[in-house]
Protein backbone atom coordinates (compact mmCIF):
# COMPACT_ATOMS: atom_id res chain seq x y z
CA UNK A 1 0.00 0.00 0.00
CA UNK A 2 1.26 3.43 -0.93
CA UNK A 3 1.38 5.93 1.91
CA UNK A 4 2.99 8.86 0.09
CA UNK A 5 2.78 9.45 -3.65
CA UNK A 6 3.96 12.53 -5.48
CA UNK A 7 4.12 13.14 -9.19
CA UNK A 8 6.24 15.78 -10.87
CA UNK A 9 5.97 18.02 -7.89
CA UNK A 10 7.26 21.49 -8.60
CA UNK A 11 7.67 24.43 -6.28
CA UNK A 12 8.72 27.90 -7.26
CA UNK A 13 8.64 30.40 -4.40
CA UNK A 14 7.44 33.96 -4.77
CA UNK A 15 11.01 35.23 -5.13
CA UNK A 16 11.49 33.05 -8.22
CA UNK A 17 13.60 30.46 -6.42
CA UNK A 18 12.97 26.96 -7.74
CA UNK A 19 12.96 24.74 -4.67
CA UNK A 20 11.66 21.62 -6.37
CA UNK A 21 12.13 20.94 -10.05
CA UNK A 22 10.14 17.77 -10.54
CA UNK A 23 9.78 15.37 -7.68
CA UNK A 24 8.19 11.99 -8.09
CA UNK A 25 8.21 9.71 -5.07
CA UNK A 26 6.42 6.69 -3.76
CA UNK A 27 6.67 5.51 -0.18
CA UNK A 28 5.08 2.22 0.79
CA UNK A 29 3.63 1.15 4.08
CA UNK A 30 6.07 0.27 6.87
CA UNK A 31 9.02 1.50 4.86
CA UNK A 32 11.76 3.59 6.37
CA UNK A 33 12.33 6.01 3.55
CA UNK A 34 15.51 8.08 3.50
CA UNK A 35 15.25 11.36 1.65
CA UNK A 36 18.82 12.33 1.17
CA UNK A 37 20.43 15.39 -0.30
CA UNK A 38 22.78 18.28 0.31
CA UNK A 39 21.54 21.39 2.06
CA UNK A 40 19.31 23.42 -0.23
CA UNK A 41 18.34 20.42 -2.35
CA UNK A 42 14.65 20.93 -1.60
CA UNK A 43 14.22 18.38 1.21
CA UNK A 44 12.46 20.71 3.62
CA UNK A 45 10.24 22.11 0.88
CA UNK A 46 9.25 18.56 -0.02
CA UNK A 47 8.37 17.67 3.56
CA UNK A 48 6.42 20.92 3.95
CA UNK A 49 4.39 20.06 0.87
CA UNK A 50 3.70 16.62 2.34
CA UNK A 51 2.50 18.37 5.51
CA UNK A 52 0.26 20.79 3.62
CA UNK A 53 2.30 23.76 4.88
CA UNK A 54 3.42 24.77 1.41
CA UNK A 55 1.30 24.51 -1.73
CA UNK A 56 3.05 23.02 -4.78
CA UNK A 57 3.23 25.15 -7.92
CA UNK A 58 2.48 22.11 -10.08
CA UNK A 59 2.23 18.34 -9.82
CA UNK A 60 0.19 16.11 -7.58
CA UNK A 61 0.66 14.90 -4.03
CA UNK A 62 -1.30 12.41 -1.98
CA UNK A 63 -0.78 11.21 1.57
CA UNK A 64 -2.90 8.19 2.53
CA UNK A 65 -4.60 8.85 -0.81
CA UNK A 66 -5.82 12.27 0.34
CA UNK A 67 -4.60 15.81 -0.21
CA UNK A 68 -2.02 16.78 2.43
CA UNK A 69 -3.12 19.17 5.15
CA UNK A 70 -6.49 17.46 5.51
CA UNK A 71 -7.15 16.98 9.25
CA UNK A 72 -8.04 13.33 8.53
CA UNK A 73 -4.53 12.87 7.12
CA UNK A 74 -2.82 14.80 9.90
CA UNK A 75 -4.55 12.68 12.54
CA UNK A 76 -2.68 9.66 11.18
CA UNK A 77 0.79 11.18 11.02
CA UNK A 78 3.37 12.73 13.26
CA UNK A 79 5.78 15.46 12.20
CA UNK A 80 9.05 16.69 13.63
CA UNK A 81 10.05 19.96 11.93
CA UNK A 82 13.71 20.72 11.31
CA UNK A 83 13.94 23.23 14.14
CA UNK A 84 11.21 22.20 16.52
CA UNK A 85 9.76 25.18 18.38
CA UNK A 86 6.66 25.41 20.49
CA UNK A 87 5.18 27.73 23.10
CA UNK A 88 8.10 27.80 25.48
CA UNK A 89 6.06 28.81 28.52
CA UNK A 90 4.60 25.30 28.58
CA UNK A 91 6.32 22.45 30.37
CA UNK A 92 7.22 19.36 28.39
CA UNK A 93 4.32 17.48 29.94
CA UNK A 94 1.86 20.29 29.20
CA UNK A 95 3.02 20.43 25.59
CA UNK A 96 2.41 16.72 25.15
CA UNK A 97 -0.94 16.93 26.90
CA UNK A 98 -2.03 19.73 24.57
CA UNK A 99 -0.74 17.78 21.62
CA UNK A 100 -2.75 14.78 22.76
CA UNK A 101 -5.90 16.87 23.12
CA UNK A 102 -5.50 18.18 19.59
CA UNK A 103 -5.03 14.62 18.38
CA UNK A 104 -8.28 13.68 20.12
CA UNK A 105 -6.88 11.26 22.69
CA UNK A 106 -9.10 10.70 25.70
CA UNK A 107 -7.82 11.60 29.17
CA UNK A 108 -6.71 8.11 30.18
CA UNK A 109 -4.86 7.36 26.97
CA UNK A 110 -3.35 10.84 27.01
CA UNK A 111 -1.92 10.36 30.47
CA UNK A 112 -0.52 6.95 29.56
CA UNK A 113 1.00 8.09 26.27
CA UNK A 114 2.48 11.28 27.72
CA UNK A 115 4.38 9.22 30.29
CA UNK A 116 5.41 6.61 27.73
CA UNK A 117 6.72 9.08 25.17
CA UNK A 118 8.51 11.16 27.81
CA UNK A 119 10.36 8.02 28.84
CA UNK A 120 10.95 7.02 25.23
CA UNK A 121 12.77 10.26 24.40
CA UNK A 122 14.55 10.39 27.74
CA UNK A 123 12.80 13.45 29.13
CA UNK A 124 10.93 11.89 32.06
CA UNK A 125 13.01 13.89 34.52
CA UNK A 126 12.57 17.20 32.69
CA UNK A 127 8.84 16.69 32.14
CA UNK A 128 7.78 19.49 34.45
CA UNK A 129 10.41 22.01 33.38
CA UNK A 130 9.39 24.85 31.08
CA UNK A 131 10.52 24.29 27.49
CA UNK A 132 12.18 27.71 27.78
CA UNK A 133 14.75 26.01 29.98
CA UNK A 134 15.40 23.11 27.59
CA UNK A 135 18.64 22.76 25.66
CA UNK A 136 18.46 22.51 21.87
CA UNK A 137 18.79 18.77 22.07
CA UNK A 138 15.99 18.52 24.64
CA UNK A 139 13.74 20.67 22.45
CA UNK A 140 14.37 18.27 19.59
CA UNK A 141 13.53 15.35 21.87
CA UNK A 142 10.26 16.84 23.04
CA UNK A 143 9.51 17.53 19.38
CA UNK A 144 10.02 13.88 18.61
CA UNK A 145 7.79 12.99 21.56
CA UNK A 146 4.90 15.12 20.27
CA UNK A 147 5.31 13.54 16.83
CA UNK A 148 4.97 10.03 18.28
CA UNK A 149 2.45 10.68 21.06
CA UNK A 150 -0.72 9.65 19.24
CA UNK A 151 0.85 6.47 17.77
CA UNK A 152 0.72 7.64 14.16
CA UNK A 153 0.95 5.34 11.13
CA UNK A 154 3.36 7.69 9.40
CA UNK A 155 6.13 9.76 10.93
CA UNK A 156 7.90 12.52 9.01
CA UNK A 157 11.21 13.60 10.48
CA UNK A 158 13.10 16.58 9.10
CA UNK A 159 16.77 16.28 10.09
CA UNK A 160 15.79 14.74 13.45
CA UNK A 161 19.31 14.43 14.79
CA UNK A 162 20.73 17.79 13.71
CA UNK A 163 20.66 19.17 17.26
CA UNK A 164 21.66 15.96 19.01
CA UNK A 165 24.95 14.64 20.32
CA UNK A 166 26.22 11.21 19.17
CA UNK A 167 24.40 9.45 22.00
CA UNK A 168 21.15 11.22 21.13
CA UNK A 169 21.60 10.28 17.48
CA UNK A 170 21.92 6.67 18.40
CA UNK A 171 18.77 6.86 20.53
CA UNK A 172 16.85 8.36 17.62
CA UNK A 173 18.09 5.58 15.36
CA UNK A 174 16.88 3.05 17.90
CA UNK A 175 13.50 4.74 18.02
CA UNK A 176 13.25 4.66 14.22
CA UNK A 177 14.08 0.95 14.21
CA UNK A 178 11.48 0.38 16.87
CA UNK A 179 8.87 2.23 14.80
CA UNK A 180 9.78 0.12 11.82
CA UNK A 181 9.24 -2.95 13.94
CA UNK A 182 5.78 -1.70 14.83
CA UNK A 183 4.92 -1.27 11.16
CA UNK A 184 5.10 2.53 11.17
CA UNK A 185 6.11 4.24 7.94
CA UNK A 186 8.99 6.67 8.45
CA UNK A 187 9.94 9.47 6.07
CA UNK A 188 13.38 10.67 7.07
CA UNK A 189 14.94 13.84 5.69
CA UNK A 190 18.65 13.86 6.20
CA UNK A 191 21.95 15.03 4.88
CA UNK A 192 23.71 12.59 7.17
CA UNK A 193 24.50 9.58 5.05
CA UNK A 194 25.55 7.39 7.91
CA UNK A 195 22.20 7.94 9.58
CA UNK A 196 20.25 6.95 6.48
CA UNK A 197 22.54 4.03 5.82
CA UNK A 198 21.92 2.62 9.26
CA UNK A 199 18.14 2.72 9.35
CA UNK A 200 16.56 3.11 5.90
CA UNK A 201 15.31 0.47 3.52
CA UNK A 202 14.47 2.82 0.67
CA UNK A 203 16.52 5.81 -0.35
CA UNK A 204 16.03 8.69 -2.73
CA UNK A 205 18.95 11.01 -3.38
CA UNK A 206 17.73 14.45 -4.28
CA UNK A 207 19.72 17.33 -5.70
CA UNK A 208 18.53 20.70 -6.88
CA UNK A 209 14.91 19.69 -6.63
CA UNK A 210 14.95 16.38 -8.43
CA UNK A 211 15.65 12.76 -7.57
CA UNK A 212 18.99 11.70 -9.00
CA UNK A 213 19.13 8.14 -7.64
CA UNK A 214 16.57 6.03 -5.85
CA UNK A 215 15.76 2.49 -4.90
CA UNK A 216 16.06 0.01 -2.07
CA UNK A 217 19.17 0.75 -0.05
CA UNK A 218 20.40 -2.84 -0.41
CA UNK A 219 20.17 -2.66 -4.20
CA UNK A 220 21.81 0.75 -4.37
CA UNK A 221 24.73 -0.40 -2.30
CA UNK A 222 24.98 -3.98 -3.57
CA UNK A 223 25.01 -3.04 -7.24
CA UNK A 224 28.49 -1.67 -6.90
CA UNK A 225 31.49 -3.11 -5.17
CA UNK A 226 34.85 -1.72 -4.40
CA UNK A 227 38.16 -3.43 -4.53
CA UNK A 228 41.22 -2.04 -2.75
CA UNK A 229 44.45 -3.29 -4.24
CA UNK A 230 47.63 -2.81 -2.22
CA UNK A 231 50.91 -3.64 -3.98
CA UNK A 232 54.63 -2.81 -3.67
CA UNK A 233 54.52 -0.62 -6.76
CA UNK A 234 51.81 0.24 -9.29
CA UNK A 235 53.43 -0.15 -12.69
CA UNK A 236 51.89 1.35 -15.82
CA UNK A 237 51.25 -2.09 -17.18
CA UNK A 238 49.52 -3.22 -13.99
CA UNK A 239 47.41 -0.10 -13.91
CA UNK A 240 46.37 -0.64 -17.51
CA UNK A 241 45.24 -4.18 -16.62
CA UNK A 242 43.26 -2.87 -13.67
CA UNK A 243 41.50 -0.32 -15.82
CA UNK A 244 40.32 -3.21 -17.97
CA UNK A 245 38.68 -4.79 -14.92
CA UNK A 246 36.84 -1.81 -13.46
CA UNK A 247 36.94 1.93 -13.14
CA UNK A 248 39.75 3.40 -11.05
CA UNK A 249 38.43 5.53 -8.20
CA UNK A 250 41.71 6.47 -6.53
CA UNK A 251 45.27 5.57 -7.33
CA UNK A 252 48.68 6.12 -5.75
CA UNK A 253 52.09 4.46 -6.14
CA UNK A 254 51.15 1.53 -3.97
CA UNK A 255 47.37 1.48 -3.85
CA UNK A 256 44.47 1.47 -6.31
CA UNK A 257 40.77 1.50 -5.51
CA UNK A 258 38.59 0.04 -8.20
CA UNK A 259 34.84 0.16 -8.67
CA UNK A 260 33.85 -3.21 -10.05
CA UNK A 261 30.62 -4.73 -11.19
CA UNK A 262 30.82 -8.09 -9.44
CA UNK A 263 32.89 -10.39 -7.27
CA UNK A 264 34.72 -11.97 -10.23
CA UNK A 265 37.27 -9.18 -10.37
CA UNK A 266 39.35 -10.12 -7.33
CA UNK A 267 40.90 -13.35 -8.71
CA UNK A 268 41.57 -11.57 -12.02
CA UNK A 269 43.44 -8.79 -10.20
CA UNK A 270 45.49 -11.39 -8.32
CA UNK A 271 46.24 -13.19 -11.57
CA UNK A 272 47.36 -9.94 -13.22
CA UNK A 273 49.67 -9.16 -10.31
CA UNK A 274 51.32 -12.54 -10.54
CA UNK A 275 51.67 -12.36 -14.34
CA UNK A 276 53.18 -8.86 -14.23
CA UNK A 277 55.51 -9.59 -11.31
CA UNK A 278 53.86 -7.11 -8.99
CA UNK A 279 53.93 -8.04 -5.33
CA UNK A 280 50.40 -8.14 -4.00
CA UNK A 281 50.12 -7.13 -0.33
CA UNK A 282 46.37 -7.03 0.05
CA UNK A 283 43.16 -7.35 -1.93
CA UNK A 284 40.19 -5.98 -0.02
CA UNK A 285 36.69 -6.25 -1.44
CA UNK A 286 34.09 -3.92 0.09
CA UNK A 287 30.54 -2.80 -0.50
CA UNK A 288 30.46 0.70 -1.76
CA UNK A 289 29.17 2.96 0.93
CA UNK A 290 26.15 5.11 0.43
CA UNK A 291 28.39 8.12 0.80
CA UNK A 292 30.28 7.25 -2.36
CA UNK A 293 27.07 6.67 -4.28
CA UNK A 294 25.75 9.94 -2.95
CA UNK A 295 28.84 11.92 -3.92
CA UNK A 296 28.92 10.27 -7.32
CA UNK A 297 25.23 10.98 -7.91
CA UNK A 298 25.52 14.64 -6.93
CA UNK A 299 28.73 15.16 -8.88
CA UNK A 300 27.35 13.32 -11.89
CA UNK A 301 24.39 15.63 -11.79
CA UNK A 302 26.61 18.71 -11.52
CA UNK A 303 29.00 17.61 -14.25
Amino acid sequence: MTVIATQQLRKVYGNGKVALESLSLEVGRAEVFGFLGPNGAGKTTAIKILMGLVAPTAGSVKVFGLPPGDPAVKGRLGFLPEHFRFYDWLTGRELLDFSGRLAGLDAARRRRRVDETLRLVGLAEAADVHIRGYSKGMQQRIGLAQALLHEPELVLLDEPTSALDPLGRREVRDIIRRLKGEGVTVFLNSHLLSEVELVCDEVAIVDRGRVVRSGPLAALVAGERELRVLVDHVTDEFRARLEGLGSVLTASDTEVTLAVADGEAAPLVAQAAVELGVQLHALVPAHRRLEDIFVQAIEGEAG
Binding site: Y13, G14, K48, M51, G52, L53, V54, A55, G69, P71, A72, K74, G75, L77, G78, F79, P81, H83, F84, R85, F86, Y87, W89, F98, S99, R101, L102, A103, G104, G143, Q146, A147
Partner: protein, 286 residues
Protein backbone atom coordinates in the same frame (compact mmCIF):
# COMPACT_ATOMS: atom_id res chain seq x y z
CA UNK B 1 -13.75 22.17 18.76
CA UNK B 2 -10.05 22.48 17.97
CA UNK B 3 -10.46 26.25 17.77
CA UNK B 4 -11.64 26.12 21.37
CA UNK B 5 -8.51 24.21 22.39
CA UNK B 6 -6.41 26.95 20.79
CA UNK B 7 -8.53 29.60 22.53
CA UNK B 8 -7.96 27.84 25.85
CA UNK B 9 -4.23 27.77 25.23
CA UNK B 10 -4.30 31.48 24.35
CA UNK B 11 -6.05 32.26 27.63
CA UNK B 12 -3.52 30.16 29.50
CA UNK B 13 -0.73 32.02 27.75
CA UNK B 14 -2.21 35.39 28.69
CA UNK B 15 -2.50 34.25 32.30
CA UNK B 16 0.98 32.82 32.46
CA UNK B 17 3.01 35.43 30.66
CA UNK B 18 4.33 38.51 32.39
CA UNK B 19 2.34 40.65 29.98
CA UNK B 20 -0.85 40.18 31.95
CA UNK B 21 0.85 41.11 35.20
CA UNK B 22 2.15 44.24 33.50
CA UNK B 23 -1.33 45.14 32.29
CA UNK B 24 -2.77 44.59 35.76
CA UNK B 25 -0.11 46.77 37.39
CA UNK B 26 -0.57 49.48 34.77
CA UNK B 27 -4.31 49.37 35.17
CA UNK B 28 -4.24 49.56 38.95
CA UNK B 29 -1.90 52.53 38.62
CA UNK B 30 -4.28 54.16 36.17
CA UNK B 31 -7.29 53.64 38.44
CA UNK B 32 -5.37 54.97 41.45
CA UNK B 33 -4.29 58.09 39.57
CA UNK B 34 -7.84 58.59 38.36
CA UNK B 35 -9.24 58.29 41.88
CA UNK B 36 -6.65 60.53 43.53
CA UNK B 37 -6.85 63.12 40.75
CA UNK B 38 -10.61 63.15 40.98
CA UNK B 39 -10.58 63.70 44.75
CA UNK B 40 -8.05 66.55 44.48
CA UNK B 41 -9.76 68.29 41.56
CA UNK B 42 -13.19 67.94 43.08
CA UNK B 43 -11.91 69.55 46.29
CA UNK B 44 -10.64 72.56 44.33
CA UNK B 45 -13.82 72.88 42.27
CA UNK B 46 -15.93 72.70 45.43
CA UNK B 47 -13.83 75.39 47.08
CA UNK B 48 -14.15 77.69 44.07
CA UNK B 49 -17.84 77.18 43.57
CA UNK B 50 -18.74 77.48 47.22
CA UNK B 51 -21.12 80.35 47.65
CA UNK B 52 -21.99 80.72 43.97
CA UNK B 53 -25.54 79.82 43.07
CA UNK B 54 -24.67 77.39 40.26
CA UNK B 55 -22.49 75.33 42.63
CA UNK B 56 -24.48 72.11 42.67
CA UNK B 57 -25.11 72.08 38.95
CA UNK B 58 -21.48 72.95 38.21
CA UNK B 59 -20.14 70.15 40.35
CA UNK B 60 -22.50 67.64 38.70
CA UNK B 61 -21.32 68.68 35.22
CA UNK B 62 -17.69 68.58 36.35
CA UNK B 63 -18.12 65.08 37.79
CA UNK B 64 -19.71 63.80 34.60
CA UNK B 65 -16.96 65.34 32.47
CA UNK B 66 -14.23 63.81 34.59
CA UNK B 67 -15.85 60.38 34.44
CA UNK B 68 -16.12 60.75 30.67
CA UNK B 69 -12.41 61.59 30.53
CA UNK B 70 -11.64 58.52 32.63
CA UNK B 71 -13.55 56.31 30.20
CA UNK B 72 -11.83 58.00 27.28
CA UNK B 73 -8.45 57.08 28.74
CA UNK B 74 -9.64 53.57 29.55
CA UNK B 75 -10.83 53.15 25.97
CA UNK B 76 -7.41 54.25 24.69
CA UNK B 77 -5.70 51.88 27.10
CA UNK B 78 -7.92 48.99 26.03
CA UNK B 79 -7.34 49.74 22.35
CA UNK B 80 -3.58 49.80 22.80
CA UNK B 81 -3.75 46.59 24.84
CA UNK B 82 -5.71 44.92 22.04
CA UNK B 83 -2.89 45.75 19.63
CA UNK B 84 -0.11 44.87 22.06
CA UNK B 85 -1.32 41.43 23.08
CA UNK B 86 -2.24 40.26 19.59
CA UNK B 87 0.27 41.94 17.30
CA UNK B 88 2.58 38.93 17.13
CA UNK B 89 -0.04 36.25 17.73
CA UNK B 90 0.17 34.93 14.17
CA UNK B 91 3.37 36.45 12.77
CA UNK B 92 5.32 35.44 15.88
CA UNK B 93 4.31 31.80 15.46
CA UNK B 94 5.19 31.95 11.78
CA UNK B 95 8.62 33.50 12.45
CA UNK B 96 9.53 31.04 15.20
CA UNK B 97 8.32 28.01 13.26
CA UNK B 98 5.86 27.11 16.03
CA UNK B 99 3.14 27.11 13.40
CA UNK B 100 4.77 24.11 11.70
CA UNK B 101 4.47 21.96 14.79
CA UNK B 102 1.01 23.34 15.58
CA UNK B 103 -0.40 22.64 12.11
CA UNK B 104 1.03 19.13 12.12
CA UNK B 105 -1.88 18.28 14.39
CA UNK B 106 -5.30 17.43 13.01
CA UNK B 107 -6.66 20.95 12.91
CA UNK B 108 -7.44 23.40 10.13
CA UNK B 109 -5.63 26.66 9.65
CA UNK B 110 -8.81 28.56 10.39
CA UNK B 111 -8.94 26.88 13.82
CA UNK B 112 -5.67 28.62 14.68
CA UNK B 113 -6.98 32.04 13.61
CA UNK B 114 -10.40 31.62 15.22
CA UNK B 115 -8.97 30.09 18.39
CA UNK B 116 -6.47 32.86 18.97
CA UNK B 117 -9.06 35.51 18.15
CA UNK B 118 -11.55 34.01 20.58
CA UNK B 119 -8.94 33.73 23.31
CA UNK B 120 -7.79 37.33 23.01
CA UNK B 121 -11.36 38.60 22.54
CA UNK B 122 -12.33 37.01 25.87
CA UNK B 123 -9.34 38.56 27.63
CA UNK B 124 -10.09 42.00 26.17
CA UNK B 125 -13.81 41.86 26.90
CA UNK B 126 -13.11 40.83 30.47
CA UNK B 127 -10.57 43.64 30.79
CA UNK B 128 -12.93 46.32 29.50
CA UNK B 129 -15.80 45.14 31.70
CA UNK B 130 -13.75 44.87 34.90
CA UNK B 131 -11.97 48.17 34.33
CA UNK B 132 -15.19 50.00 33.45
CA UNK B 133 -16.90 48.74 36.59
CA UNK B 134 -13.90 49.74 38.70
CA UNK B 135 -13.80 53.17 37.09
CA UNK B 136 -17.52 53.71 37.64
CA UNK B 137 -17.24 52.59 41.25
CA UNK B 138 -14.41 55.04 41.95
CA UNK B 139 -16.25 57.90 40.20
CA UNK B 140 -19.43 57.09 42.10
CA UNK B 141 -17.77 56.98 45.49
CA UNK B 142 -15.93 60.25 44.90
CA UNK B 143 -18.55 62.27 43.02
CA UNK B 144 -21.92 60.47 43.32
CA UNK B 145 -22.11 60.45 39.52
CA UNK B 146 -23.24 57.38 37.58
CA UNK B 147 -23.29 57.33 33.75
CA UNK B 148 -26.83 57.04 32.39
CA UNK B 149 -26.37 53.92 30.24
CA UNK B 150 -23.05 52.28 31.13
CA UNK B 151 -23.85 48.84 29.69
CA UNK B 152 -24.32 50.15 26.15
CA UNK B 153 -21.09 52.13 26.48
CA UNK B 154 -19.14 49.12 27.76
CA UNK B 155 -20.50 47.00 24.91
CA UNK B 156 -19.32 49.53 22.36
CA UNK B 157 -15.91 49.80 23.99
CA UNK B 158 -15.55 46.03 23.81
CA UNK B 159 -16.36 46.34 20.13
CA UNK B 160 -13.52 48.89 19.79
CA UNK B 161 -11.05 46.28 21.04
CA UNK B 162 -12.53 43.62 18.72
CA UNK B 163 -12.13 45.90 15.68
CA UNK B 164 -8.45 46.36 16.53
CA UNK B 165 -7.99 42.69 17.39
CA UNK B 166 -9.39 41.61 14.02
CA UNK B 167 -7.21 44.10 12.16
CA UNK B 168 -4.16 42.96 14.09
CA UNK B 169 -4.99 39.31 13.34
CA UNK B 170 -5.39 40.13 9.67
CA UNK B 171 -2.10 42.04 9.57
CA UNK B 172 -0.33 39.17 11.32
CA UNK B 173 -1.21 36.74 8.54
CA UNK B 174 0.86 38.57 5.94
CA UNK B 175 3.00 41.22 7.67
CA UNK B 176 6.02 40.85 9.94
CA UNK B 177 5.24 41.71 13.57
CA UNK B 178 6.93 45.11 13.48
CA UNK B 179 5.22 46.25 10.27
CA UNK B 180 1.90 45.05 11.64
CA UNK B 181 2.39 46.98 14.87
CA UNK B 182 3.46 50.20 13.13
CA UNK B 183 0.57 49.91 10.68
CA UNK B 184 -1.96 49.41 13.47
CA UNK B 185 -0.71 52.39 15.46
CA UNK B 186 -0.86 54.55 12.35
CA UNK B 187 -4.42 53.45 11.69
CA UNK B 188 -5.36 53.95 15.32
CA UNK B 189 -3.88 57.45 15.25
CA UNK B 190 -5.62 58.16 11.97
CA UNK B 191 -8.95 57.17 13.51
CA UNK B 192 -8.37 59.59 16.38
CA UNK B 193 -7.42 62.37 13.96
CA UNK B 194 -10.45 61.60 11.78
CA UNK B 195 -12.67 61.84 14.85
CA UNK B 196 -11.23 65.26 15.74
CA UNK B 197 -11.67 66.53 12.18
CA UNK B 198 -15.27 65.34 12.13
CA UNK B 199 -16.12 66.86 15.52
CA UNK B 200 -14.49 70.19 14.60
CA UNK B 201 -16.09 70.07 11.15
CA UNK B 202 -19.51 69.71 12.74
CA UNK B 203 -18.83 72.67 15.04
CA UNK B 204 -17.49 74.81 12.21
CA UNK B 205 -20.23 73.59 9.87
CA UNK B 206 -17.68 72.37 7.34
CA UNK B 207 -19.12 69.56 5.22
CA UNK B 208 -15.71 68.71 3.78
CA UNK B 209 -14.24 68.10 7.23
CA UNK B 210 -17.22 66.00 8.25
CA UNK B 211 -16.91 63.93 5.08
CA UNK B 212 -13.20 63.36 5.68
CA UNK B 213 -14.07 62.21 9.18
CA UNK B 214 -16.68 59.80 7.86
CA UNK B 215 -14.31 58.30 5.29
CA UNK B 216 -11.71 57.74 8.01
CA UNK B 217 -14.38 56.14 10.20
CA UNK B 218 -15.22 53.72 7.41
CA UNK B 219 -11.55 52.88 7.01
CA UNK B 220 -11.04 52.29 10.73
CA UNK B 221 -14.13 52.60 12.91
CA UNK B 222 -12.40 52.55 16.30
CA UNK B 223 -12.89 56.24 17.10
CA UNK B 224 -16.44 56.52 15.84
CA UNK B 225 -17.30 53.58 18.10
CA UNK B 226 -15.79 55.36 21.06
CA UNK B 227 -17.77 58.51 20.27
CA UNK B 228 -20.91 56.37 20.13
CA UNK B 229 -20.02 54.90 23.50
CA UNK B 230 -19.49 58.39 24.90
CA UNK B 231 -23.11 59.27 24.19
CA UNK B 232 -24.22 56.73 26.78
CA UNK B 233 -21.83 58.10 29.38
CA UNK B 234 -23.05 61.70 29.36
CA UNK B 235 -25.99 62.96 31.41
CA UNK B 236 -28.67 65.05 29.75
CA UNK B 237 -27.13 68.26 31.11
CA UNK B 238 -23.91 67.85 29.10
CA UNK B 239 -25.69 66.59 25.98
CA UNK B 240 -27.90 69.67 26.11
CA UNK B 241 -24.86 71.93 26.42
CA UNK B 242 -23.41 70.44 23.26
CA UNK B 243 -26.65 70.71 21.33
CA UNK B 244 -27.69 74.24 22.18
CA UNK B 245 -24.60 76.36 21.78
CA UNK B 246 -22.64 75.93 18.55
CA UNK B 247 -19.35 76.49 20.28
CA UNK B 248 -20.10 74.00 23.03
CA UNK B 249 -18.35 71.04 21.50
CA UNK B 250 -17.06 68.41 23.87
CA UNK B 251 -13.96 67.00 22.24
CA UNK B 252 -13.73 63.18 21.97
CA UNK B 253 -17.43 62.87 22.63
CA UNK B 254 -20.65 62.72 20.68
CA UNK B 255 -24.01 64.21 21.48
CA UNK B 256 -25.95 61.89 19.19
CA UNK B 257 -26.72 58.21 19.70
CA UNK B 258 -24.98 55.76 17.35
CA UNK B 259 -26.68 55.17 14.01
CA UNK B 260 -27.82 51.60 13.36
CA UNK B 261 -26.07 51.38 9.95
CA UNK B 262 -22.79 52.38 11.58
CA UNK B 263 -23.13 49.61 14.17
CA UNK B 264 -24.00 47.05 11.52
CA UNK B 265 -21.08 48.25 9.41
CA UNK B 266 -18.70 47.89 12.35
CA UNK B 267 -19.81 44.35 13.15
CA UNK B 268 -19.45 43.38 9.48
CA UNK B 269 -16.07 45.12 9.38
CA UNK B 270 -14.84 43.09 12.36
CA UNK B 271 -16.11 39.79 10.98
CA UNK B 272 -14.87 40.70 7.51
CA UNK B 273 -11.33 41.40 8.75
CA UNK B 274 -11.38 38.07 10.59
CA UNK B 275 -12.68 36.23 7.51
CA UNK B 276 -10.03 37.87 5.36
CA UNK B 277 -7.38 36.85 7.90
CA UNK B 278 -8.51 33.22 7.54
CA UNK B 279 -8.52 33.46 3.74
CA UNK B 280 -5.01 34.96 3.60
CA UNK B 281 -3.65 32.47 6.15
CA UNK B 282 -5.20 29.54 4.26
CA UNK B 283 -3.41 30.49 1.08
CA UNK B 284 0.05 31.36 2.24
CA UNK B 285 3.12 29.12 2.38
CA UNK B 286 4.40 28.59 5.88
Amino acid sequence: MNALLIARLTLKEAARKRLLLLVVIGSVLFLTLFGVGLILLLGQVRAQMAGSGAGRQGIAVFSAMMTLMGFYMLNTLAGLSAVFISVNAISGDIDSGTVHALLAHPLRRRDVILGKWLGYASVLALYVVVMSLALMAIAYFVTDFLPPAPLAAIGLMVLVTLVLLSLSTLGGTFLPTLANGVGLFLLYGLAWLGGMVETLGAALRSDTMVHIGIVVSLLIPSDVLWRSASFYLQPAAILAMQNVSTGGVVPFASATPPAAPMLIYTVLYTLGALGLAIAVFNRRDL
